[in-house]
Every structure is written in structure tokens, then in C-alpha cells.
Amino acid sequence: MRFKFEIGCVLVLLACFIFTQADINRFYYFAGFAILQYVMISTAWNILGGYGGYINFGTAGFLGVGSYAAIALIEFYGAGIIEQIVAAGIIAGFLGLAIGFFTLRLKGVYFAIATLALAIVLETIVNNWDYVGGAAGVSILPPRKPELLGILIVDRKGDGIFQNNKEYLFFLMAVMAVMSVWIARTIEFGKLGRGLNAIKDNEEAAECMGVPTLKLKLVATVISGALMGMAGAIFPSYVTYVDPPTAFNLELAVNSLAMPMIGGTFTWIGPVVGSILLGTVQQVAIVTISSEINLLIIGVLLIFFVTVAPQGIVGWFMKKNK
């Protein structure tokens, strides 16, 4: 069938919509939101990291920039969530361009190192920026009755599409996650994806075979960064309180690369599988064991897959079915 993937996307969104309309324990919303967010983040990471082989350790930085761009816009004029997401995407995209401009001419390790330091620096800046709450953090008041194109979206009395803001944001997150996967898949099967793959295999050979390596790397960094920023933008409205250590959490950076590595970095489905599996394990582990052990599990799994099974789960299955 021609539009198998597109139909699948619509079905997933439909399922997520029905989920918001059903009366379900709030924990499942929370867990589902986290997993969808991870699908988006790890898919975004994989566009540069999986296809192009350039490791970004600064996921927390891009997400944090997205979150704080959203907060700044709320403080500035009470922007709606859609405007926050768009603006955060643009700003995080520019951040990717800037970092890429400085480091992507060099070997991949320099990009990795620069992104590793990025989150710390951005956290420093936000700590010093009182307008968005500084080191103390900031509380966000969600708008009472958000509207979009004249349609009432959220209303407690039941006149809107959603009963409460969390349901709305959950659905929005699902839309963005599906959109990210679609973008990643489109890139993978297109010229950009093939060029990035050539870069990953051998950058000098790629350049000599006519691939404009710097340009493709920059494009991938901008797209990847913008998606991360957009994922970060929805975060303040959802949790309603943000401070620098939460927004720039290292855990996010580890997850964003552990999930694709575990699922498999060479194809779009790898990060999706990795996020759903690891995301679910984490949501269960946080409740049943402790958050430290949960983090330890991620770290050990990351090392295990990087050393022993670099093709990830999807690669392992594909090999088996050959």
C-alpha cells in the first residue's frame, strides 16, 4: 500500500485523541506524555546522530532553550502555546546553526565536546536572567480558555474539545511526536538522508563524491535542534513550574542518545522503539524502584548496546529475519 506510513500516523493520532477523551488515571497521561516527548526528542537526535554520525550531547541545552523561549514569550505578552512552539523551534534552530557554524568544519568529536559544554553555559545564562525566573525558577499559569482559529479548545464545563489543559497538551505532544517521526522518515528516504549516510560512512569520500558535507550537516543540525526546541517549548506549560536544573537536566541528554542507540540508529523506527521501550521501563522503574536505579539502568543499557550490540534492537531483528 502506498500510504501505509501516513495512515499509521493518522491512526496513532486518533488513538491518542480517544485516550484524551476517556476517563483515565492521571498517571497514565503523565507517563504517556513523557514517552511521546522522548519519541520526539530521540527522533530529533537521530536525524544528526543516527543518519549523519555526529553525536549531540547537548540535547538538554536545546530543550532548555525551547522551554525558556516559551517562558520568555509568556512573560513578554502571554503568548499562546502554538506561538511558543514555533518561536522555540526557530530559536533552537538558530542555536544549532551557531554551534554547527563553529564546530562542524572539524572532526565530529569537536561538535560533541562543544554540545557537551553547551547545556552548562545555557544554564549559566538562564541562572543570571531574572526575567525568566533566574535560579529560583518560574511558575506558569496556563491560559483559562485557550482558543485556536476561533475554536474553543479547552473548557472545564465541556464546551471545548478538551476537558482540561493537560489533555490538550498531551494531544499536541502526540501531534508533534508523529510529525517528527514523519520528518525523520522523509529525510531518511530522501537525498539528505543518503548524503548524511555517506558522511557517516566516510566524510572525506563523501565530499569527494560531490556531497556538500558542511551544508548537509548544518541542515541536519538545524532541523534536529529545532525539533528539540519545540519539544522543550511544551514542557513549561505542562509541568507549570520550571527551574534551570529541571530544564537542563542531564538525564534528557542521556536518554536522547540511549534511546536511539538501544532501538537502532540507522532507521526512523529505531528511536521510536527505543523510546517506547526505555520510556516505559523508566516510568515503571520510577514508581516501583527508585529514580537513581532507574538512571543506572539507562546508563548500563547504553554501555551495553554501544559495546555489544551497536545495531540496536531493530538491527538485531532485521539480521535475524534475513
Partner: protein, 241 residues
């Protein structure tokens, strides 16, 4: 054979305090089969790195097809018509052989073609190289000669005016050397200018219309194969007397 396709004018390249190329001047004519020889470390690969744009020369000019190459990146030079192979084959190892060829076709020579046309173009080249039946195989299972041929096939897929072959025959048997020579001559007769860097003297002398010899970064001899074999300087460079 008429005008120069490639002009190298007093090209100089330093690495730190070490001079890898000093004041090298030469020309390659359109349609020519041009041999580049010299002992190890004489600057052959450095020279083609400067021509193909993976290194930037500090001094001198390189003019290709009437166009000054300074400031052009390697992929732009490939688009302009210069393609090179690598001494140690560098296949795109996560792709099939067919997909290896599709990279230069998609990014350079056939960027306006449809996917199917690109496949046909790649297949045509693989057939000429006698590799058609391997098209959908991974590169990991290839033998030494197949890797060498893939390296050439991929470069040829960019449809270069000037092909630079960097030791495409190292490690091959006598028969295999002849096979590669035949392929190169076939593409040359179809109009491709070829620079061949080679250690196998028999091959480079049989192949070339004209040969230059580098030693310690300097051009020490230039002429037809007959002249070069008899040149005292070349003999000294190789034997170290």
C-alpha cells in the same frame, strides 16, 4: 589533443615546517593519459589532495577547464569535473554497491534524473566494470580487486572530465592489473582525461602518454614514458643513489 585541461602553477604546500610540495608546475592536456610517479613521501598524494580540494595549497594556482580552483571546496570541484579515488579504498560501508554509485550520481552528474534513471546509470557503469551481478551486495564481502574497482566505479559515476586514480592497482595480481588498465583505457577513449598515480612501473609506463616524476616535493622530470625510464634523476630518486 590540444589545450590544457588542468594547469598546476607553482603549487606549494607546507605541513608545519615540512615542505611537502615546492613550486610544482605542470599541465594535463584534454584527453590525455597522464602518469604521476615518485618514491614514497615524494608528494604525489599531497598534490592530488590539493587538486581535488581536500587540502588547501598555500602557494600557486590550480586552473581547471579555464577556472581558478582556489576557494572551491572539494565537492564543488567534483561538480566542476574533477573526481579522485583513494589509495586505501573508502567505500560507503553501510550501503550496497549500487547505492555507493548512486551518491555521486545523485549529488553530481544526474541530480535531475529520476531514481530509476539513476539506477540505470549506475548499472551501466557496473556492467562496464564487470560488477553488475554484485550490485545489491554489501561492501563488506568484497575482495581486494572488487574494492579497487568499486572505488573507480564510484568516481566514474560522477562523470568526471578529469579522473585521478590514486594507486588503483596496489596489491593486485598481474592479470588484475591488466583488467584495471583496460577499464581505464576504455573510459579514456570515451573522452575522460586520466591522471594515474602508480607504483607499478609497467602499468604506468604502458598506460601513460606522458609522465611526471616528483621527488621530495619537487618536480624532477617530465616527458614520454621512454624519456622518463632513461632519466638519470628519476633513477636516482628511486634507487636513492
Amino acid at each position: 589533443m590540444s589545450e590544457a585541461l588542468l594547469k598546476v602553477e607553482s603549487v606549494t604546500k607546507n605541513f608545519g615546517g615540512f615542505t611537502a610540495l615546492s613550486n610544482v608546475t605542470t599541465e594535463v592536456l584534454t584527453g590525455e593519459r597522464f602518469g604521476l610517479i615518485g618514491p614514497n613521501g615524494s608528494g604525489k598524494t599531497t598534490l592530488i589532495n590539493c587538486i581535488s580540494g581536500t587540502l588547501v595549497n598555500e602557494g600557486g594556482n590550480i586552473i581547471f577547464d579555464g577556472q581558478e580552483l582556489a576557494g572551491m571546496k572539494a565537492h564543488q570541484r567534483t561538480a566542476a569535473g574533477i573526481t579522485r579515488t583513494f589509495q586505501i579504498p573508502r567505500p560507503f560501508h553501510s550501503m550496497t554497491i549500487m547505492d555507493n554509485l548512486r551518491i555521486p550520481i545523485e549529488f553530481v552528474s544526474g541530480s535531475s534524473s529520476s531514481q530509476n534513471e539513476m539506477k540505470d546509470q549506475a548499472m551501466e557503469i557496473l556492467e562496464t566494470m564487470g560488477m553488475a551481478e554484485k550490485a545489491n551486495e554489501e561492501t563488506s564481502g568484497l575482495t581486494q580487486i572488487e574494492l579497487r574497482k568499486l572505488e573507480l566505479a564510484r568516481a566514474i559515476a560522477a562523470k568526471p572530465k578529469l579522473l585521478i586514480s590514486d594507486e588503483a592497482m596496489a596489491g593486485l595480481t598481474g592479470n588484475e592489473v591488466d583488467e584495471v588498465l583496460d577499464i581505464l583505457i576504455k573510459f579514456n577513449e570515451a573522452g575522460m582525461t586520466i591522471i594515474m598515480i602508480e607504483h607499478i612501473m609497467r602499468a604506468v609506463m604502458q598506460f601513460s602518454h606522458r609522465v611526471i616524476c616528483l621527488d621530495a616535493g619537487q618536480l624532477i622530470a617530465e616527458g614520454t614514458p621512454d624519456v622518463i625510464v632513461k632519466d638519470k634523476g628519476v633513477e636516482r630518486a628511486y634507487l636513492g643513489v
